[in-house]
Amino acid sequence: MKKNHLLLFLCLAGAAAAQGQNLSKGEIHGNFEIDAQYYNPDSAIGAPAVPEKALMNGWGNVIYTNGKFSAGLRYESYLNVMQGFDPRYKGTGIPYRYATYDNGGLEITVGSSYDQFGSGLVYRAYEDRGLLYDNALDGVRVRYTPAKGVYLKGIWGKQRTFFTTSPGIVRGFDGEVNLNELFDSCMAKVKTQIILGGSFVSKFQADQDPTFVLPENVGASAGRLNLIRDITLNEATGKKGQINFYGEYAYKINDPSTVNGLIYKPGEAIYSSVAYSQKGFGLLLAAKHIDNMNFRSDRTATGNAAMINYLPALTRQHTYPLMAYYPYATQPNGEVSWQAEMSFKLKKGTLLGGKYGTDIILNYSAAYGLDSTNLHDEAGRRFGYTAEYFAPGDQYFQDIHIEIGKKLTNKLKGTLMYASMYYNKNVIEGKSGYPLIPAQVAVLDVIYRFTDEIALRTDLEHLYTKEDFGSWALALAELSLAPHWFIAAMDQYNYGNKIESKQIHYVNGQIGYLRGTSRIAIGYGKQRAGIFCVGGVCRFVPASNGFTLVITSSF
């Protein structure tokens, strides 16, 4: 298989040369990363023995571009895959390879592709290396602009699942029209940009079930509207703001699957947001209703495998460890959620703003289950339940967050954060018997720049809860010795654990070297178990103890 991929790449490159593309004008770029860890069993923190002793994830991208032609591949190696990642990533191979030709308004890609229709409610193929999430479509993608302001996309293929493809065939079409561009002769003076879009995605998977009639062709459609308007706030200064409204509705026909308990209820999703931004101020209001929108190219797949669509989480993405301790995972079977976020800058020179100004962010995110009524029709129509639009049921998640960032002197700046959270562990992690977990989290992050080359960052965090594993405290110090070195040490202390012997310090240190686009970091210590999420898609990270090595580079 690897030989065939390389052969394809070379043939396409050769074809480009035959078409008169001068290979000497082409460019080759790429990047690679190696993550490795040596595991010491540590029963105190629940770190299991690893028979291989050390595990490795590695990958490398090579991309060739020459005029209208580009081709690339990614080699991946998991020998064996590190703890916390899906163990079905096993072995080595070239699961991602493509060739693209862009002839002005028509672009054709054969091989692997990533793309998105609208907000992703019916189709999103993407990858996230941190999650080891990759649902690239292996097939054909066409992007076509028949006229100014008209953007068409078509996809046809099978989704990547680990080192193979999912059994279902995915076909889709997306059209977007920017009316202002399309009718520019008569809409040139219209201040509001109007963008309409529509998508349709269908999957085919054979029905081999001896008991149920499973639909082999399942379609999902979506329509969207985007309005963008610039507002002149001050003619004299030219100060402007912008309002952006986005709304999308998606509908999916009967799609019985393992995740939804084999019900035949159609799925629906509504996503809407309004954003206002101007210099020094931003406001975002968003709401989402999801009802039975698990959409996969394998009706029996679970976890993060074979997902065709993407249901965005209306939560703030936290990067500080204790702020991110209770992350939210989107519930495709049903949820109602909303988010309000305001960011503003208190001007410098004012009483509250101080000498350098102060940045403030306020965020409110909440997610609830559907207020549903069980139909008890398992022997009949199997619709499962009914639910009203935006009617909340059980509480899943809440995050009320405030963040204040301030530069205090030329050398000193800090960020202070506080969040009040509620976390439904039973729903979000698939556990049982846990009460709703309230948690209060505070973070103080201070950076002091001694010189242009030397900076020290200290991060103090505290999570308070009486439930789950109790309260945590965290202290981190990171010394940067520009341009090449950094040293970091961190301790996370579970002082609030009800079991005294589990009140453990998770200490680890890291030293790193940077040179150009390359970075090498070596670490040692304990890592607590936890959940790592990006955009509502999560993976569980088990506790571990040992050496870590990360090497990244790009060219």
């Binding site: 029963s43 068409l152 149920f212 698939g430 556990k431």
Partner: protein
Amino acid sequence: MNILKSLVPLCAAAALLAACDYVSVPQQVGGPTGPSGGNGVAKRVLVEDYTGHFCNNCPRAAEEIHTLEAQYDSLIIPIAVHVGNFAWPASLYGLPNGAPSNSFPMDFRTPEGNDWETFFQPFAFPVGMINRYDYPNNHMLTVENWGGLVAQELAKPATADIRISHTYNPTTRMLDVTISGEMLRDTSGTFFMKTVITEDSVYEWQLDSELNPEYAPYYHSHMLRGAVDNPGSGWGDTAVAGIISAQTAFTRTYNNYQVNAAWNDTHCDIVTFIYDNNSKQVLQAAKKKLR
């Protein structure tokens, strides 16, 4: 705008739009309706838990099985299959720090379980199968997915029935067992049946991540001990094959099976199940106390 430029993609889109299967009657026509089938036969579900005593998260899987048993009672037929490195005895795996020197001496692996491990390839521990559904695609599931698939399988009507009849002499520990049953709908293919012994409440050691220290004596539930038919093999005997009419009966008898003296026969069960040899999917299962 040049309409023709957009005509082809629009036609393709219209063709896709027409390609949707709306299902008005979810159940197969002609087969038994409802979970209990045309003959009032209850659908029972085989739950296989791939585990090992050095797997410190595996007690969570056993707890999930207990939860399912509390919910569905005898409709759940569990088997705990000890396989892989986590099932090695301490002489191979090594002892956890601080564990007594005489702990984890047992090797609960079986040749039958090893066959299943080799074939079905559990990708992590704990994982399991529910009626071996969706082999070879997504048959191994982590614990949080078991409940949903159990409910899904129990919602289906029974397509076969299987029963256990046996005589057991506790003095000689000799077992004679007859497995009988019938298909409940017209079908075709090759269907095998497998009969094994499981033992409950095996009191030995187990790692548990929620304990400190993690090693502790533990009651292992539903432990696979061995096969009555084709001992040493994970695969059974043909029950029915070919084009099969509803009510086609099958029966097999296994005489003079010696129950291992190390097993507590008061804690043992006879477990049998019938499966499609092509898809490996289990149609029906049954369990009966040995004594």
